[in-house]
């Protein structure tokens, strides 16, 4: 290919042309003449070739990003379902735990009451100040206490096993959340890939984004309190702030 600029014939080209003519290669001679006259054409062809390759690559990228289509139509709705599952499971676990605890509270209260009832006579016995009728009464109370404790401790044991088992949500929800995190990462990569295919840089917006807040600055739980100076770290911080306001 000629790298000549602007249609001037070089000595090499002239010699080559004479050689073609002398050896009767008319076609080649004509081609050379044309090339000398229109050097721009070959550059144009090179440029078109480059663009075609780019277009081809971009289309290939788009085919890769059909994954993006899957993400939008299948994976993200699926992720919503997964996260709803997390809400359901954690709520169930909280309620199961509270069911058990609420059943345990009155049992403990009953045992505590019976112990309080037994205690005065028991102290008398310990100090050898108990008379016979009191002793009989104490025996009856202790009998009740022993029976209650025996029966209810079995029940409490079962209820505490319920509390234990209610914690199995952590494993399941942990796995589900991890999958959603992977999905979010994949969406992010695909979007960056698309920006790159369109020649837009994903750099430059790398400064940490401000958290989105709603009315009255609501933001929900702060997950990075230690990295922020606009939030309190704990209840002591709240109390200090309020007392500095004269609370």
């Amino acid at each position: 290919m000629s790298v000549d600029t602007g249609g001037h014939v070089s000595l090499e080209e002239a010699k080559l042309l004479v050689e073609y003519l002398e050896t009767g290669q008319q076609e080649k001679a004509d081609e050379l003449i044309e090339e000398i006259q229109n050097p721009i054409n070959s550059e144009l062809f090179a440029e078109i070739g480059k663009l075609t390759r780019q277009l081809h690559d971009s289309l290939n990228n788009f085919q890769l990003d059909s994954r993006l289509n899957d993400l939008a139509t299948a994976d993200i709705p699926d992720a919503q379902e997964r996260l709803n599952y997390v809400i359901t499971r954690t709520e169930e676990a909280a309620n199961k735990t509270m069911d058990a605890v609420e059943s345990i509270f009155p049992v403990v209260d009953t045992i505590q009451k019976q112990i309080k009832a037994v205690n005065p006579l028991w102290q008398k016995l310990m100090h050898n100040k108990l008379d016979l009728p009191e002793f009989k009464s104490l025996c009856i109370d202790i009998d009740i206490l022993l029976k209650t404790t025996d029966k209810e401790s079995v029940r409490m044991h079962d209820l505490m096993t319920d509390v234990l088992m209610a914690q199995d949500f952590q494993d399941l929800t942990g796995q589900v959340i991890r999958k959603v995190i992977d999905l979010v990462r994949e969406v992010e990569d695909s979007l960056i890939g698309m920006l790159t295919a369109f020649g837009l840089s994903s750099e430059g917006s790398s400064e940490p984004s401000k958290p989105k807040v709603g009315d009255n600055l609501v933001e929900g739980p702060i997950v990075n309190a230690t990295q922020r100076d606009d939030v309190v770290a704990d209840q002591d911080d709240v109390d200090d702030l309020l007392s500095s306001l004269g609370f």
């Binding site: 309620n95 609501v218 309190a225 606009d230 939030v231 309190v232 704990d234 702030l241 309020l242």
Partner: protein, 134 residues
């Protein structure tokens, strides 16, 4: 964690406002453990406000971030209503921006507990609130 010596009237009517039923249940259990028996529930400010206007509530425990009417707006509405303005309001919330705590203080909150919290914190704040009110 009991505070039996407190001169608190344990029969006082308490309204617990939170959009999560589990959190309402936790707060109710803690209050019951402290001896409160007369506890009602609402799931956001716009449900709570009519209840407050109708019933003679003595104390409000509310979350901040709820759909519908937020806790801070409920607090402002209570303070703006001559019939309700005397009711002490305790915020229990995950909202932790200093600006918001100042906002709540200026709106006339009686106590501010940041989630996650403990039973001991709730007990201490209740004592403080009612000690102040005499």
């Amino acid at each position: 964690m009991f505070s039996p010596e407190s001169a608190l009237d344990k029969n006082m009517k308490v309204l617990v406002v939170d959009d999560f039923s589990t959190m309402r249940r936790i707060v109710k259990n803690l209050l019951r453990d402290l001896g409160f028996t007369n506890i009602s529930e609402a799931d956001d400010g716009s449900t709570a406000l009519p209840m407050l206007k109708e019933g003679s509530f003595d104390f409000v425990v509310t979350d901040w971030n709820m759909p519908g009417m937020q806790g801070i707006d409920l607090l402002k509405a209570i303070r703006a209503d001559a019939n309700l303005s005397h009711i002490p309001v305790l915020l229990i919330t995950a909202e932790a921006k200093k600006e918001q705590i100042v906002m709540a203080a200026q709106a006339g909150v009686n106590g501010y507990i940041v989630k996650p919290f403990t039973a001991a914190t709730l007990n201490a704040k209740l004592d403080k609130i009612f000690e102040r009110l005499g």
